[in-house]
Symmetry: C2
Subunit: 514 residues, 2 copies
């Protein structure tokens, strides 16, 4: 973090930058979670070995496809793989060996050095929902997302104490041409927030734009040596690596920027209907993807990803917060730790169309399981609705509030003298009560996690105030946060340079809407 | 279970009983959960030893009060405790030694022997909410509970696949005199359901009525030798055992009927604001209570209970689904296992006034933590609303549905050849899809847990059908279950004998409403 601070302090404008920084209002952001509790391990040693053996069998016998990517095939051939057309078969152990150069944890630097995050080890970094083409709020209902919505979400993420990361495509700004919207999204993350963010992956050229804009924001030299973006590279499950995603991965790996290498699996469609079968395929895919990243550049930071849902066999709809998804998430965490890689999974997943009880059951199932499975980077940690088709404003703040629960759970139990509280038990004695005792007075402000949005009022008060449900209370909080929002200070020279870059890139291309 | 089946088959009427049994419609009830996954252990060995040491210090130095109960004081004196007025101080180790005669698990027999449950070991038995004076439904809103509401809940519990237990005071039938309502509640559990149930604890005489009615239902000899009720004995935390609850415990223990011995703690009010301090007090209280049960009758079946919530220090309201409650629930599970006692905790806890997102977040947090903390008996597993003041019909069926998730989570991962699914991965290969493959076809019906109430429909269908939220969908399910309900067969002679007993007991007392 010291490096980043120095980098920022020494580059760009003088007086104006300092002035902007001095006058800026600061909102509290919690440090990324450092777990002080064990992970939950659903698989025993024998089961893990079976899955690892089977994954090697998949790579050796079946192999993976690298589609329309002759350069990748050359790299694989040189590494000792058996390449047959686009099919790449890996001798047992090759992929695992190649994965060894990937770091077990890395720092992603933020514009505000205090908000830089460590990804890997016992950390958990929380980032908002990614990808929905629609948004929903209590007044406007469900509609296509726009850039204005996107900016609101970036502001909400910035204002949330429990989000460590600004994320990436929080929603798709469908009013901006497809080939230009990455520029506006990056601009929003870079200027409306000072938390870490993600780069574009939809074309290799857009990944390069992301690296170039990061160079303006952080300084080119800084970006050359440090990770300032973590981007999402989906595998086209089963066992297929397409040229677009791999092209983006190549750009990021070459530039030492981080990538989540993530199977995208609806169980029963893109993977077997069974947990062990899905884990086998996930491991085989991640092994191949991470190994490839290390062929591109040994030491490039990568994350073992696992986006896994089950399917409703009646309707074909993906389903969320299900026990099968939990088993896979727990198991994949164990496999990632045995590989020595940071792990990405879980999120505010739900299939519900509304931020109602269904949404919350499904989301809580996934958030709790994500914490206990040892996830290091949780994308979609808040705001996900309707199977990821919708980013919900109200659910965003409700979920973000629940992320505070994860922080406290992860902290573990305070076993200090104060935590043991023997003096309090002595002071109060049988039949007494603790509200007024010295220990309670000394500790009550920090003793219990407290929601910033849920209702704890007496029934009568709640009733008089309109008997509002969670969605209505959340809508109030959304409005309040957006009203209170103030942008973090940014050196005006950097701001101007970013705007110039975006304008120039936009002018260089015709608009494309598909 | 064989004993119970024989007992039922041989007692009571002949042809009519068999006829009733033959024609009865049966609804599926899942077997109680037998965990095939590890427990989550938040405390390390050192922390556990500290808490156990401190609990002994509490019992030795501070002691507990047995209020208005001279017979209990005599028992304690004879056992070697230091009795000073109503204060009972226990030499280190005495309580733990006395606890050793309590069984580590026991069978609670049900009227339908197939529904008997094992409580302890790796089991998890799920029972509905207990105690609310109010009910709520989508049409009638919040109102005082009546006997008609109570009967509806017994029917819903009977119809629920995932509830193993009919519970006790699912809601308070406030339209029946206080001194008589236990008779009507028992009658409902005994005749409208054939699942196991709880006895009355509000007076020793009502506990005796429960034992007597159980004698009619199961046969007196059977009840003398077998546990057919599990009842809820709350400790008046901190460290106080009142005469009413202890009187009921004495009746049950003498009759070898099971009791949950349970601190009732709102943290910061009835226990210290810290997790370790609360665990210390919980352990001290349970040690004293269980030890007392074994003084009354060595070998009486008891359960280590821990009802624990935190408090909102702004409003004084109890709060639910909080990380502090989770820590305590995990830790108390570890302490219970070290004592070799069955464990009761967790439930569908929430503070929300409505079955909305808040209710579901809080409930899911508690249910998930309950499963992973090794709970053996989960009271309040469905239907709890508004801090336990309200039993909600819609939340009852929503929560009960989520209990299906716990069943699947607890089953663990299938590592059979079929589970490994290597043939499926071979058959489908890179770029294929699994929906049509042989393995999917063979397994899809049972591969994934499926909700019976949540919405998985396409957006357009859902929208055309009225864009219903979870509460509305749940209301439909409540009506459907109640419309489909048919009482389980009961020998008409037993039914008549129960009714005669209730009539006689009611006639023997004036009505009391407080």
């Amino acid at each position: 973090m010291t490096e980043a601070r120095t980098a920022r302090r020494t580059r760009g404008g003088g007086g104006a930058a300092r002035r902007a920084e001095r006058t800026a209002v600061r909102f509290e952001t919690a440090k990324f979670i450092e777990r002080n509790i064990p992970n939950f391990e659903v698989l025993d040693e024998e089961a893990l070995q079976v899955i690892e053996h089977n994954a090697e069998t998949v790579l050796e016998e079946i192999g993976v496809n690298f589609v329309e990517n002759p350069a990748a095939l050359d790299l694989w051939r040189a590494a000792g793989a058996d390449v047959d057309g686009e099919r790449v078969r890996l001798p047992r152990g090759l992929a695992r060996e190649l994965c060894k150069t990937a770091p077990s944890q890395f720092v992603q630097h933020a514009r505000d050095p205090a908000k830089s995050v460590t990804i890997g080890g016992n950390s958990l970094v929380l980032a908002p929902v990614y990808g929905p083409p629609f948004v929903r709020d209590i007044n406007g209902g469900r509609r296509y997302a726009t850039m204005a919505d996107f900016e609101k979400f970036v502001k909400l993420a910035y204002m949330s104490k429990w989000l460590h990361h600004s994320g990436g495509t929080i929603c798709e700004p469908t009013d901006i041409p497809v080939n230009k919207r990455h520029l506006d999204m990056l601009m929003a993350h870079m200027t409306l927030s000072d938390k870490p963010f993600m780069g574009s992956v939809t074309e290799p050229s857009r990944a390069q734009d992301s690296v170039d804009m990061a160079g303006i924001l952080f300084g080119k030299e800084f970006v050359a040596d440090n990770t300032v973006m973590t981007s999402l590279i989906n595998i086209n499950s089963p066992l297929t690596f397409d040229a677009t995603m791999m092209g983006a991965l190549e750009v990021y790996a070459r530039n030492m920027q981080a990538a989540i290498i993530s199977p995208f699996i609806v169980g029963g469609a893109m993977a077997p209907v069974s947990v062990a079968g899905t884990l086998t395929q996930v491991l085989a895919e991640v092994l191949a993807g991470v190994a490839y990243s290390q062929l591109v550049r040994p030491g490039a930071p990568v994350i073992f990803g696992a986006f896994v849902t089950s399917i409703d066999m009646n309707s074909g709809a993906p389903t969320f917060g299900t026990p099968e998804a939990s088993h896979i998430t727990y198991g994949a965490g164990q496999l990632a730790r045995r590989l020595g890689l940071p792990y990405r999974s879980a999120g505010s997943f739900c299939g519900s169309k509304l931020p109602d009880a269904q949404a919350a059951y499904e989301t809580s199932n996934s958030l709790n399981m994500g914490l206990l499975s040892g996830v290091n980077f949780m994308l979609h940690a808040c705001g996900w609705l309707e199977g990821g088709l919708v980013a919900s404003f109200e659910k965003f703040v409700l979920d973000a509030d629940q992320l505070g629960v994860l922080h406290r759970l992860a902290a573990g139990v305070d076993m200090s003298e104060n935590g043991q509280a023997m003096d309090a038990i002595r002071e109060v004695g049988p039949g007494g009560h603790y509200l007024g005792c010295a220990h309670t007075q000394a500790n009550f402000k920090t003793a219990f996690w407290r929601s910033d949005v849920l209702d704890y009022k007496p029934f009568e008060t709640w009733d008089e105030e309109g008997a509002r449900d969670s969605q209505s209370l959340a809508a109030v909080r959304v409005d309040k946060l957006l009203a209170d929002y103030q942008a973090p200070a940014l050196d005006p020279e950097i701001d101007a340079a970013l705007r110039a870059f975006v304008a120039e890139r936009k002018a260089s291309m015709p608009d494309a809407f598909s």
